[in-house]
């Protein structure tokens, strides 16, 4: 039981067993035995050393079993390292434990996201899926979504921000205890522009709706589905056809960004998906975006959204005191607590 928590703390800090044993001043053998369950009751010194190194409070290691969570969906670049994926998953597992405890004292919004169990394999069908979701989100069939984070939180989805050092990873989603009262969680990395956050959240929502009950063997196919879902959710077809009229230039896509909070790059992709531009025109727009160095920073600011539900959940443990104190009460390292409440 404690071994599972030590492993989580280590992975949440992106440390190998060797690194943790070096930093904590304990033998790697002891650490390995502890994580494998061969040592069930470690000494206080070992626990304190692990706590001091990982910044997880000592009390974290004395709790019961951790909640199980599925593997989840990662939004990352191909070069994204698996140890960072593990780190994100470990941090979210710690968050899931806090959310589950909060269910006992807070009336969290009831879960209303409905995963689909069948899709004919046609990407166009995703347009209909997003229309059904937009009705649930209460944002109408074609209007801009003024605050996607809040709309998702109202469906009972917990949206969190993770610390910034998540290189090459933009998002993660998981639905623990699906069908058993569990609630979906979406994690996005800190420090991205608002439009990228919105796309990442919409993309992860796509995974939750499309891939919780459906198995898609080809991971690239799953990513394409989630991307198309995100585009259709944020910029519905009818609205896109009205807003993106030829001749389609970057300035047209900028105006769409200012209206729908969607990136210029996404708008170009959306225009291509809906066959509003030819493949060559899409390539040309991408080249223009690249030539203007907008792949690093696009014009047209989209103000970032702030998750509230997780802040309310964390405040169950109290809201008075320093960050370090509040992190300790929530059994989290200060760095993770700070990111969650940023």
């Amino acid at each position: 039981m404690i071994g599972e928590r030590v492993r989580l703390a280590r992975e949440a800090c992106r440390l190998t067993q060797i690194e943790l044993s070096d930093l904590a001043g304990i033998s790697q053998g002891t650490l390995s035995d502890l994580e494998a369950g061969r040592i069930m009751v470690p000494s206080d010194e070992v626990v304190e050393a692990v706590s001091r190194t990982t910044q997880f409070p000592v009390a974290f290691f004395s709790r019961g079993p951790l909640p199980d969570i599925p593997e989840g969906n990662y939004r990352k670049l191909k070069r994204g390292k698996s140890k960072i994926s593990k780190q994100i998953r470990a941090q979210i597992r710690a968050v899931v434990e806090i959310v589950q405890s909060a269910e006992e004292v807070l009336q969290l919004p009831s879960v209303s996201l409905s995963p689909v169990d069948d899709l004919k394999g046609d990407l166009e069908e995703l347009e209909e899926c997003t229309q059904a979701l937009r009705q649930k989100l209460g944002v109408g069939g074609r209007d801009p979504i003024p605050n996607l984070t809040r709309a998702l939180e109202r469906t009972g989805t917990v949206v969190v921000r993770l610390p910034t050092e998540m290189e090459d990873h933009d998002g993660f989603s998981v639905w623990p205890d699906f069908g058993l009262g569990g609630r979906p969680i979406i994690a996005i990395s800190n420090g991205n522009p608002g439009d990228r956050d919105r796309f990442n959240m919409a993309h992860e929502t796509g995974h939750l709706v499309l891939h919780t009950r459906r198995d898609v063997a080809d991971p690239d196919r799953a990513e394409r589905e989630a991307n198309r879902f995100a585009g259709a959710l944020l910029l519905p077809e009818e609205a896109a056809r009205e807003a993106i009229r030829p001749p389609i230039t970057l300035r047209v896509l900028m105006a769409v960004k200012a209206t729908f909070g969607t990136s210029i790059a996404m708008n170009a992709q959306r225009a291509k998906d809906l066959r509003l531009i030819s493949d060559q025109q899409f390539v040309s727009l991408r080249r223009q975006i690249s030539a203007r160095r907008w792949t690093r920073q696009e014009p047209v600011e989209v103000t970032p959204e702030r998750p509230i539900l997780i802040a309310k959940i964390l405040s169950v443990a109290g809201s008075d005191g320093s960050t370090v104190r509040m992190a300790e009460r929530n059994l989290l390292p200060p760095m993770i607590y700070r990111a969650l409440t940023a």
Partner: protein
């Protein structure tokens, strides 16, 4: 009585024409994107590309109600108060030479446009004929500069201008503001009145 900035004070003229120049910048920027997109399907042709930029910019200026004068080859000319602005693509990092066009030579020499071309008397305009020259960088930023021509010069020759000032423009002014909505998360068990502590 309307007062206009002194043509000898470029900063005053830039301030006076700032809104118009910003509009021209946006339209040229869109024109560059338009031309790049159209040319994606065609073989490279610098003259066609320039013409497409001008054509698109002119269409947008017209749609924006700025009443550009329609000239040959999609040339762009705008008026604001007593000032006239001709928009040309830059040549050798400056305004282009006027060439052989009598109309353009008259304009560069600070005569009312067209007065020589139609054989009428030349009417001096006291430094209100301005040139806005533009270029697109490889990063597709639009570089603009405003200048006051004083006469004509030959291709590759020294421009005959009183002054030339680059124009700095990069803010699009566009923004998406996400709404600041609340979320009610009540406690699961409300504390009943009889459970609350009574005041002593």
């Amino acid at each position: 009585m309307v007062t206009y900035p002194d043509p000898a004070k470029p900063e005053d003229i830039l301030a006076y024409l700032a809104g118009l120049i910003r509009d021209v910048h946006h339209c040229l920027d869109d024109g560059v994107s338009f031309a790049d997109t159209v040319m994606a399907d065609l073989r490279p042709d610098g003259h066609l590309w320039s013409a497409l930029v001008r054509h698109r910019a002119l269409t947008l200026l017209d749609a924006a109600g700025l009443s550009p004068k329609r000239l040959l080859n999609s040339g762009i000319e705008l008026e604001r108060g007593r000032f006239t602005l001709k928009v040309f693509r830059s040549q050798d990092d400056g305004p282009p030479a006027p060439g052989h066009s009598r109309t353009r030579r008259a304009y560069y020499s600070q005569y009312r446009q067209g007065s020589l071309a139609i054989g009428g008397p030349a009417i001096p305009v006291d430094g209100t004929n301005l040139i806005l020259d533009w270029e697109a960088t490889s990063e597709r930023a639009i570089l603009l500069a405003l200048s006051l021509p004083l006469g004509v010069w030959k291709h590759k020759g020294q421009p005959s201008i009183d002054w030339r000032r680059p124009v700095q423009l990069d803010d699009t002014g566009l923004r998406f503001e996400s709404s600041d909505e609340g979320l009610e998360v009540p406690p699961r068990f409300e504390i009943g009145e009889d459970e609350e502590g009574e005041e002593a």
